[in-house]
């Protein structure tokens, strides 16, 4: 075996990297043969790496980059210890990202690597052969490992390792890393390859137009490949070589079975059926969420309004602090406000778990295709669907995501539309109002809010494109869909927990602050109050007075009522605060969730002239469309500037008001919606 100096240096570099990160995994002794695993993403490279090294992985950033490389020690029979590195996945040596550039650089630098183990996905052999063909045009030792043979077999395709080895002129080993791969076969093949001379590069089609008599030390081909030649003739030649290779090394069943993932995609991403399936799935999500969470929510509510409130009161009484401002702040402020919000934890947990399930199974990727096509049909920029979809989780990262749009007008347009996507914070309000006013159809009402949200995005987009953003082209794309897979419990649990934790952090941070301010305004007497500081009834407080002054604006919308309007004002801080402020302002007279609901219903009935459900719908539409939370506005200002942010805030408020008035006026005229 011949080991050149540069690989030794690189091995040493990787050893030192691991030491720097104190992973306690020394990849290999300095100077050990340097072996790398290359291949496309999701080809089974990392699974194979773990099998070969016993999962002894040291992960470190490659010097001067943010690219992570995993390395470990691999004992090769007859050779001894080698340094095995798991390079970032890449499809070719023409890099498109920093990690691909690093992989490309490592693989194409003469003499750097002692052996390249090219992991080829048998289920996508043609795609894997692009990188393989590039590598075979270079003077490197190559061992091809075929993975995903079971998936290929399911599709009726069998790849012959022998035929492929003959075609490529390098050894080929078949394994299935997910089922205890035969590492001894790979080890034996690696040992043979490491001790053999560097194989002569072969003519892979690219060389037909590059240098027909390609010598072993050819530098033209690598340079041409790395430059990412724009010559379509070159690409066509290589494409033909790959196609010929694929055809000559695979046998297909006479009747090729379509795998169930492809069959499902024919329906799930179909132009008409796809959106209908998407809507049905989302309707099911909200039905399941609202129905399954109800008993848990009631139990938590009983806990906060019962034992916890009573315990806090008793504890304060024991130290002589009952009956004062402190008790008021603790019981009717913190416990009522934050506690009410916490009753939504089961609901959020169930919903996040279902979304994680859809995400991990691969369905959400299909939903993105459906959304993208819908937007494209309406003439909206295809790329904008990314931030808009993210916006259904939280508007703040969605606004940040507009950075991916290259055109400034696209960024502004999308940032203006994102607040119309219904973030999960608004879900708590939807559920509270829907359960109170539409107890038999709560899930459908919540689902309706999400459909309304999509309609607002579409209509808002069309409106803006027809006025401020004319002559803006669309940007077609082809989505690279992952196959469906069985969801992993660990991934589901981690995803759900991270999101629930985010919800709890909001409740523990900004909501506590909001609750404190609302409580403070609630104990300060308003003009004409009959009692002083701390003694004033909440409906005579400064909070009630200020909210009442603004309430007149909402008379045509049917909810000109100070509790509701006050909640909308604090909802500007965070939408979850709508619930906590209601809980606080009703807490003096009402105890649990059911009683609170009755009080809200009574106030809406009075404010709407006997049309509480129409007023509730108007209120929900206003919550959906009006000014987003302060964090979203701050993100908007960062991305599109103060002027456009102000335009957006004004537009949203005006649109929300107009829509809520329209909804109330129409709905209140429908006899079916009158109590």
């Amino acid at each position: 075996m011949t080991t050149t100096t540069p690989p030794g240096q690189l091995s040493t570099q990787l050893v030192s990297l691991a030491t720097c990160h104190e992973t306690n995994v020394a990849p290999a002794r300095p100077g050990a043969p340097f072996v790398v695993l290359a291949g496309s993403p999701n080809s089974g490279k990392s699974t194979l790496f773990n099998a070969l090294t016993g999962a002894g992985r040291a992960v470190a950033n490659y010097p001067g980059t943010t690219v992570e490389i995993g390395s470990g020690s691999w004992q090769v029979p007859g050779i001894g210890e080698t340094c095995l590195s798991d390079l970032p996945g890449t499809y070719s040596l023409a890099p498109q990202s920093p990690d691909e550039a690093l992989t490309s650089q490592l693989l194409s630098t003469p003499g750097l690597v002692d052996l390249v183990i090219m992991v080829c996905d048998a289920a996508h052999l043609g795609r894997s052969l692009v990188l393989t063909a590039h590598l075979r045009a270079l003077p490197v030792r190559l061992l091809v490992v075929l993975t995903m043979n079971d998936v290929a077999a399911d599709r009726g395709t069998v790849v012959s390792a022998g035929a492929l080895a003959n075609r490529l002129g390098v050894p080929v080993v078949k394994v299935d890393p997910r089922r205890r791969p035969d590492t001894s076969a790979i080890g034996a093949a690696a040992a043979a390859a490491l001790t053999a001379p560097v194989p002569r590069p072969i003519n892979t089609g690219l060389a037909r137009t590059c240098c027909p008599d390609c010598p072993p030390d050819c530098l033209d081909c690598p340079a041409r490949i790395l430059a990412g030649s724009g010559d379509l003739d070159d690409a066509e030649a290589l494409f033909s070589w790959i196609t010929e290779t694929t055809e000559s090394v695979t046998t297909r069943s006479p009747v090729t079975r379509r795998n169930w993932s492809d069959l499902a995609d024919r329906w799930v991403t179909a132009p008409v059926i796809g959106p209908l399936i998407f809507l049905a799935v989302m309707w099911g999500v909200f039905q399941l969420t609202t129905r399954a969470a109800a008993p848990l929510q009631d139990a938590l509510d009983a806990l906060f309004t019962g034992p916890i409130s009573a315990g806090a009161t008793a504890a304060l009484g024991a130290v002589g602090l009952n009956g004062g401002l402190l008790e008021g702040f603790l019981v009717t402020g913190l416990i009522a406000g934050v506690g009410m919000l916490l009753t939504f934890v089961p609901l959020m947990t169930i919903m996040f778990a279902i979304l994680a399930l859809l995400e991990d199974s691969g369905y959400l990727a299909r939903a993105a295709v459906v959304t993208d096509r819908l937007m494209g049909m309406l003439g909206l920029p295809g790329r904008a669907f990314l931030p808009l979809v993210v916006g259904f989780g939280c508007n703040v990262p969605a606004i940040s995501a507009v950075r991916v749009l290259p055109d400034a007008r696209h960024r502004i347009l999308t940032a203006l539309l994102v607040p119309f996507t219904s973030c999960t914070a608004r879900l708590t309000v939807y559920v509270m109002v829907a359960v109170t006013f539409f107890p038999d159809n709560a899930g459908t009402v919540v689902f309706g809010m999400y459909v309304t949200s999509i309609l607002l995005v579409v209509l808002g987009g069309l409106l803006l494109r027809g006025t401020l953003f004319r002559a803006m082209g669309t940007d077609p794309l082809v989505l690279d869909l992952p196959p469906y897979q069985r969801p992993h419990l660990r991934v589901l649990a981690a995803s759900t927990w991270l999101r629930v934790r985010g919800f709890l952090q909001t409740a523990a941070g900004i909501i506590v602050a909001t609750v404190t301010v609302v409580w403070l305004l609630g104990v300060i007497p308003g003009p004409g109050a009959s009692a002083g500081w701390g003694q004033v009834p909440v409906d005579q407080s400064l909070y009630a007075w200020l909210s009442g002054q603004l309430a007149v604006i909402f008379t045509p919308a049917g909810f000109a009522e100070w509790h509701a309007v006050g909640a909308l004002v604090v909802g500007f801080v965070a939408k979850e605060a709508v619930i906590s402020s209601w809980a606080q302002t009703y807490a003096a007279t009402d105890g649990d969730l059911v009683t609170l609901g009755h009080s809200v219903l009574a106030d809406f009935t009075a404010a709407s002239g006997g049309h509480p459900q129409a007023a509730a719908l108007a209120f929900l539409v206003f919550i959906l469309a009006y000014t987003p939370c302060v964090a979203t506005i701050a993100a908007q200002k960062r991305q599109i500037g103060a002027r456009w942010t102000l335009v957006g805030v004004a537009l949203q408020f005006a649109l929300a008001w107009l829509l809520s008035v329209a909804v109330f006026q129409v709905a209140s005229s429908l006899p079916g919606l009158a109590l």
Binding site: P41, V67, E68, P88, Y91, S92, A94, Q96, S97, P98, D99, L125, G126, R127, L129, I225, G228, G230, D231, L232, A235, E236, L238, F239, I242, T246, D265, F352, A356, E359, G362, L364, A365, A368, V369, D372, R373, R383, P387, V390, C394, V396, P397, S400, A401, R403, V404, P476, L477, V478, L479, D480, P482, V491, A494, S495, L498, G502, A631, A635
Partner: protein, 86 residues
């Protein structure tokens, strides 16, 4: 028209996924995926992350939503990529 040009046309026409390119061109999926990879290597189209259904395996540096990620609670797992004409 060559096969690569046919695939490129389908991308430019806004096919929603590789499956749709298959339907439009009549080629099999592996050929289409290979063609897309080839076209990306020539710079005719580019492959990029468009939608993080979860954190990108290559780390936050290449994630388009990293800046505001705290609110989204995205987890480790998959990222959705797409091919676009350049």
């Amino acid at each position: 028209m060559t096969r690569l040009e046919t695939i490129l046309d389908a991308v430019r026409a806004g096919a929603g996924g590789a499956g749709e390119v298959v339907r439009r061109t009549g080629m099999d999926l592996d050929t289409v995926e290979t063609g897309l990879t080839m076209l990306a290597a020539t710079g005719r189209i580019r492959r990029e992350l468009v939608f993080a259904t979860a954190c990108v395996p290559s780390g936050c540096g290449s994630c388009p939503v990293a800046a505001g990620c705290a609110g989204a609670g995205l987890t480790n797992g998959k990222a959705l990529r797409c091919w676009r004409p350049t």
